[in-house]
Symmetry: C2
Subunit: 399 residues, 2 copies
């Protein structure tokens, strides 16, 4: 598996972006992805019971398992906008489909930004003639910029595997920085590949890897109303992926996991106000459910996150969070380590290691291992610290 320059693109796909004016700034706020031919397509969506209008429409348009285009905007989430919001999203799909000569159900709409503000469909529709002329194979960076909100940088990953003529390319783009604790998918993420693969298998793999990547990250414990991950497979590769047991199937599966994992990491690294990336590994848990409960509780504890910001290896807060997680925990068995340095053995501190622990929590990336000694299940979860800057961003910015 090799990275490649994102502006080399993926055969068959074009990306474009413009400033349409939703944001009232000079920043790009509207982007499209267009495929030369019908793609196998799949998506996973937020499980928040309050869902944005485009989430409902996207899901409906994906019912047939095929798509040709994605349209995504930042600056307005089109959430809590009632029937008018749904109507606005449908009008945009119809207008873009008209420009591209497609049926509207081949267009997948996504929005991100402020909740509860009427969606300016006319502003978007007026920008479409420009937008449909700009897409280029190398436009992924522009598209990634157009979907940013509080993100400080665009998030793109481009990976290729195998040798020609059987090589596969995959390009992933995501946005997300706050309101991040997805429980089905995350924020907005778009993946395109030239692989040939049937929609049902594509959906199965996307869901399986979402559970291990996007669903195992948290910036602030808040789940968005708009979380969406979409994948479009251009069906250009000579041989079709028909399962995950063949060589090609394993290659595709690894490529997809690596792409999704890279995007999930980028989101946490660019978490609002984040100064550190914390990887929590809960091991030897009674069940996967226990491991996930423990990891998620630690990852979302304000006290744990502020301690990491203060570069304090505060294992008492980890124990407190662990014990209240709902996971089955016997405190007299718990062992904790930071970047491999033991801090707690069987529930009791190891004071000899304090100097090394103090040094290791100053690093930018910290791996916290929580060993429950109670079984064989495990879980990995990514989070970041909680800083002044997080408070500043969210006290000042209206999402």
């Amino acid at each position: 598996m090799q990275p490649f320059p994102p502006d080399a693109g993926v055969p068959g796909f074009r990306f474009g972006a413009v400033t349409c004016g939703i944001k009232n700034t000079v920043k790009k706020d509207l982007g499209i992805i267009v495929s030369d031919r019908p793609c196998s397509a799949a998506g996973v969506f937020t499980r928040n019971r309050v869902k944005a209008a485009p989430v409902h429409i996207c899901r409906r348009h994906l019912a047939g398992g095929t798509a040709r285009a994605v349209i995504a905007n930042s600056g307005n989430a089109n959430a809590c906008t009632g029937a008018a919001g749904a109507d606005a999203a449908r009008r945009v799909c119809r207008a873009l489909a008209g420009h591209l000569g497609l049926p509207p159900r081949m267009v997948l709409p996504c929005s991100t930004g402020v909740i509860g503000v009427p969606f300016p469909a006319d502003t978007v529709i007026r920008a479409l003639p420009d937008l449909v002329h700009c897409p280029a194979p190398g436009g992924a960076a522009a598209f990634a910029e157009a979907i940013m909100t509080t993100d400080t940088r665009p998030k793109i990953t481009a990976l290729r595997a195998g040798a020609d003529p059987g090589a596969l390319s995959m390009l992933g783009i995501a946005k997300g920085s706050g309101m991040i604790m997805p429980d089905m998918a995350t924020m907005l993420a778009f993946i395109v590949t030239d692989a040939a693969i049937e929609p049902p298998l594509l959906k199965t793999l996307l869901q399986a890897h979402a559970a291990e990547t996007f669903n195992r990250i948290s910036v602030d414990g808040d789940m968005s109303t708009n979380d969406t991950v979409l994948i479009l497979a251009g069906n250009r590769s000579r041989t079709a992926v028909t399962g995950t047991t063949s060589r090609l199937g394993r290659m595709f599966d690894r490529l997809l996991f690596a792409t999704m994992d890279a995007l999930a990491r980028m989101i946490v690294l660019d978490g609002e106000g984040a100064t550190k990336l914390i990887t929590i590994r809960v091991v030897r848990a009674p069940t996967e459910g226990d491991a996930l409960k423990a990891a998620r509780r630690i990852a979302n504890s304000c006290l744990v996150k502020t301690a990491f910001f203060g570069e304090d290896f505060n294992w008492g807060r980890i124990m407190g969070a662990l014990g209240s997680s709902g996971a089955r925990v016997d405190q007299d068995r718990v062992c904790l380590s930071y970047n491999g340095i033991p801090a707690v053995r069987r529930g009791v501190a190891l004071p000899d290691n304090i100097p090394q622990l103090k040094a290791t929590v100053k690093k930018k990336e910290i791996e916290l291992e929580v060993d429950l000694q109670a079984g064989r299940a495990q879980c990995r979860y990514l989070t970041c610290d909680l800083s002044y800057e997080y408070v500043k961003i969210n006290a000042d910015y209206t999402t």
Copy 2:
């Protein structure tokens, strides 16, 4: 029901406090409450699976439903201290019982402070001769000071109901400012009363009101390893409280609720870094469980709390939190109001009210009503905002 000056005390109880040196400062860090005669006693404790040593001992000592003394320290939680911690707490109980001429099981120990540091039993025991000589009926303020950690002020409430000779007095003391989202009790809270009441009824009432008061508050969503609420009833009143249907029973019940509610409010008002008290009322929920899930999720959302700090009536974040709470919510029925000013009707914003909403979120106390229009259950929950100061306190302080 009338407040009275806390230094008037409650007949039969004395309070004392000293600086024993756990904290290495001149601040008081050890206090006792002593009753002239055996009390009916009850407690509720943290449901955190990681529990401090004194929590286990307190619960065991309460098995008989009677007690004569409480000893509480700040600066060391005696949590995650293994067998040595349990032994230390037992030694302190035995030593105090010796000074007071009581069986050790009549002493209830409580600790709060840093987790995982060996408990300095000898330091405490050396201070006992001074401590047992200082208690006075008016010493509640000194005791309240001795149990403070990041609290910025002592928390005391004193209420009297009825007319002599049937009057009842009740005095409550609490500490708590961070690591606050109790799920059974909270932090440390001590209540003394001269009422005559049997232990089983006392326990029932304490548990019922804890569910409505201490279990409905959150500062940061973090549950402590040491949460304990104790009540000692001195059995001095002429007539015994035998139920909650008699006039006396109703009076006692109201007094107990008012005391616990006042302490719970004080904890949230003094929440780490808090600048605002937010009362969340979820009404017309399908079940009480749904109402509580919704309220707790909103109360613990970092995005909601930072918005309140920024004096931004950010109802989109309320909707996002509500939808991800697990409560059964139909977004097209939800109505939101801030201090009685409607912000959302049936899931859609009311832009005409924006000027009034902007003004009302500048107040120090905000009541947020979340009307689900889906049933008859309801729930009240208290929380505070999330400020720079919270991050500062918790990045710098080791709990």
